[in-house]
Symmetry: C2
Subunit: 646 residues, 2 copies
Amino acid sequence: MAPHTASIPLLPQATAQAALSAQDALVLRLATAARALLDGPAAEEATQNDSTAELHQLCLIVTALWCRVLRYDPATPNWPDRDRFVVPSQAMRPLLRAMLHLSTPEPDATTPLDFGLHPAVEIAPGPAGQGMASAAGMALAEEILAARHGRSLVNHRTWVLARDSDLLTGVALEAAQLAGRFGLNRLAVLVCPAPHTDPADFSDSLARFGASGWSVRRVNARSLPAIMAALAATLRSRKPTLLACLSDGPDPYPPMPAEEEQTGPWSPTARRGASARRSWLRRLTRHRARTQFEREQAGLAPPLLSEDWPRLWRHDLRGNSSQSVALAGLRALQTLRPELAVLAANSGTSGAVHDIPDPHWSCGLQEHGMAGMLGGMALHGGMLACGVAGMITIDRMRPALRMTALMRRKVLYLLTNDGLALSDGGGGWQPVEQLASLRAMPHLAVFRPACAQETFACWQAALLWPEGPALLVLCPHEMPDPGQSTASSETGASGFGSATHGGYVLRGARNRQVTLIASGPEVAVAVSAARLLAEQGVRAAVVSICCWEVFARQTEAYRATVLGDTQPDTPSALRVGIEAASSFGWERWLGANGIFIGMDDFGISAPANAVYERFGITAKAVCGRVMERLGVVATEQGSAHEADLP
Amino acid sequence: MAPHTASIPLLPQATAQAALSAQDALVLRLATAARALLDGPAAEEATQNDSTAELHQLCLIVTALWCRVLRYDPATPNWPDRDRFVVPSQAMRPLLRAMLHLSTPEPDATTPLDFGLHPAVEIAPGPAGQGMASAAGMALAEEILAARHGRSLVNHRTWVLARDSDLLTGVALEAAQLAGRFGLNRLAVLVCPAPHTDPADFSDSLARFGASGWSVRRVNARSLPAIMAALAATLRSRKPTLLACLSDGPDPYPPMPAEEEQTGPWSPTARRGASARRSWLRRLTRHRARTQFEREQAGLAPPLLSEDWPRLWRHDLRGNSSQSVALAGLRALQTLRPELAVLAANSGTSGAVHDIPDPHWSCGLQEHGMAGMLGGMALHGGMLACGVAGMITIDRMRPALRMTALMRRKVLYLLTNDGLALSDGGGGWQPVEQLASLRAMPHLAVFRPACAQETFACWQAALLWPEGPALLVLCPHEMPDPGQSTASSETGASGFGSATHGGYVLRGARNRQVTLIASGPEVAVAVSAARLLAEQGVRAAVVSICCWEVFARQTEAYRATVLGDTQPDTPSALRVGIEAASSFGWERWLGANGIFIGMDDFGISAPANAVYERFGITAKAVCGRVMERLGVVATEQGSAHEADLP
């Protein structure tokens, strides 16, 4: 058998009709075997999805790719420098199954081809187009890592088996623009028109990719010489490549030789992959950054991070808002963990241009594409992916965020410009139900810090969150430090717990009558309300729940102490939730008799103070609601004033 | 002054340099005045958004459009056959303000240019690109209405003042494809490159629109003859038009005549608009379908709908699943209310191809663009917009849905293929947190009917929902009618309330010990569990909450009776929530001591039964959890069996 290298002999067009080389003959025999597998047990899967014709149309080019180009080692399918072969749709899985079968002497037929179960499955299936964005993220990760560690360690490609319908979706078009802008030339998409697709529509699809910085190449997927030429051109391309596989000419598949009907030919993929991995391991052993590389691949933090990070962080603070503090934390973290890669949307950087760390990858208004890429970067591994975007745009990123949570990958999101006053855009489309809708998502942690102190704690907790992605919801307004009033002698009780537990008593009260529970900027409202209530002789504690998910995972005893349920049999203190957002879900902390003060409607177009007034999210209004519920008529002067009387 | 008609004299290119006509001179003087207004009080708004350069660049073409083409009557800005002038971004509002000022002898400077306050504002500002999709929806609405009522009643255009960044977004690219596919030739977008935009990127943007079935036209926005030629071509175009406004040549604005410096010239827009509206009114008076047209414009149902609809509906039932019944309702409604326009995504029609009503507009995989268009159709008025899509794709449509809810427009969504088993795509991405995230959105009502009977009731309640959009979440599986067991003699109590109240007692129990609360397919699980509990001697009522929002708006007494809180001072029955979804928000109905049985994680890739088993959403598991909580050890035989012993 001929030697198997990653390079392909470049066939000039003229030799396309030349006699078959031994390699070509093998590819054709393998394709015949693959096609037989497609018609076999995998057929059922395909028929359900009506993708049989596409699978057949792509069979030869995928076989050629696996046989001659792709770096895949069945012994260690997930070695870091493997080529990524991304199959985002269930419908295209039979081709992956066939390739695995033909690449391995003893194929493992028992492990299902599901993400997380089979190591050769790079991605879980999701909505159309979503996988294209993930693949673009993998290609960007490769690019970033190669720039840091050199091509001797990072030298692979991302191949995507797409469907033509994927190309029409907004998320794919956004990711395509980003891939084109970033020049991700190691990204290649294989696609063919579905049987019912109008050729004019397919051409339009290709034109849109061509106008997004892609090299679009039409390939006759029935001609092996044409396929080899296209693959060779893909390897040389300076742009991401879209290989549009069309069918022209007779069926290229030779009959299967009788002796191979039972065992099948064995593809050179495995041998080439194993040899590539061995020489990569030799290079890694000699590499001067080996320890660092291995740490990053394992997703571990460097030693001393917990000491170095806060020091560096405090050194570079440029403001007191949670947004400014969190971005300072990001800058410091980037210095200490260079595997941190930051993607930023315009909505995230607006009003914070000077706080965004450098370098970062600017993703304009393509938030959905960006979020998909962040997920792909996390899937790629070897880096810590972080996105910066405006809080209000989270709805756009939601489908991609969901896939990241579903695959339990860590992506950090810094969501800036939270809060009630948005000068940019305006018109009353502030975040309202976003917090609730995010808290409902499994495996996702949502942090909403109230002050600089909490921002420190939340950032660190977000990094440690083990289940999946974590969000920091950040406000651009300078925030008073509500912690200053903790040790107030008037209340006779200090705080309890800490922000790293997700919720804690910020300002205690002995024998509290009321527990004010808030997050983010509304914690300051709660602290002021507690002061007003104290003037009225009402003992109120202030609890900050900066992360519901982390708080929910504390012991029941801890939660009860924080929420003021010290004696289970006696009626607990009145609970009041304060958050400039939808009440949905707050019953969890407030119980049946609690009060929620927030927004039962979309915002209005007005400065922040006016919006807070309008929705009654002020210390005075909170105090009034509490006094009303407690059945106490608040005196205008207040008890503190009365004490001054002779 | 020259007569003002909607038609423009078509200028051959050769006469572009000819002497100015009186009309052209007026346009130039108005543009000068508009520019002065942009630099005046409106300037602040623009500077905030960094859009001054774009406003100036578009000033002449917008003035020409208003002065010579646009149908706008300041006396009745919202008459049905007006041209829609859509300004989706706050940044472009100053041009609208200037045009309104110049078109009206006594401009109203007090009413803010906000959606819902000023009748000339067609849309609330939203995320970038969102307004493009809405505008495409308005153009589609015009197309549909013109086909129904003829051009004598419906004969207007939709003009959009976009920013170049809008064109890059996924939602705009999806809507552009749909507009191109539907041939919406009365849609025109005016855009110019922002100062910092790379000309090559702008060209790419135009090419993407060109490849989406648009007529893309570069206009020298400093040359009035070029502008008039481009507007004339737009009126003739058979495709949607993108007018890319570039700047070439000297500043076209003449100095303002001294006598007009105070009052400004007065644009012929108002006179042309008033005259167009008068003749439209004359045609309407004579029109044979006038009553029908006026009813539709007022958004009213035809008389006798409540009688005719169920009759027609029952006649055409093709199955027993909520999905099949709801789609039958849609078909019947389309017959009775021809103003119903249906847009369907592939995700919605998959598995239900034969149930989708005809005609409908097929939107492929462009769910986000489709949802934006539905919102635009509702903004246009005169029709009832309805979207059919897969439940899992609601995350993609969310940003558009939110804008519809924010603007309080009625759009109906039929979300099909809800449930735990998705053969299509598979891989465990069933809906989980979608219900919670939708219920958190203000002004939106989410209906999840359990059976054919409830589907009838929910459909009618959805039509009546007054606050904004309404969703029907539908399951493709045949459903047993749980209502059959209502009058069970064993429990000694019958149901209470009805599905039109959002929640009701489906199966009562005298002195109930347990209330099982469920929605959709899980109501059947609750009914079976109640039977098992009855065998164990436990009295359980079954409550179906098919719409939280409607149920929450019932009287407190009604809700208390349904939930079993008849005596506020005694401990109420144990409440158990059952829903194959995230628990988030359920505390609202379950209280602090309730049990929730649902999904705390994303789904798994398995048939529905296996998923129900895995998450313990079975009658047996529910029964076990209840018995455990009640402190009763369930006997294997059950009490019913014991009674058989001698």
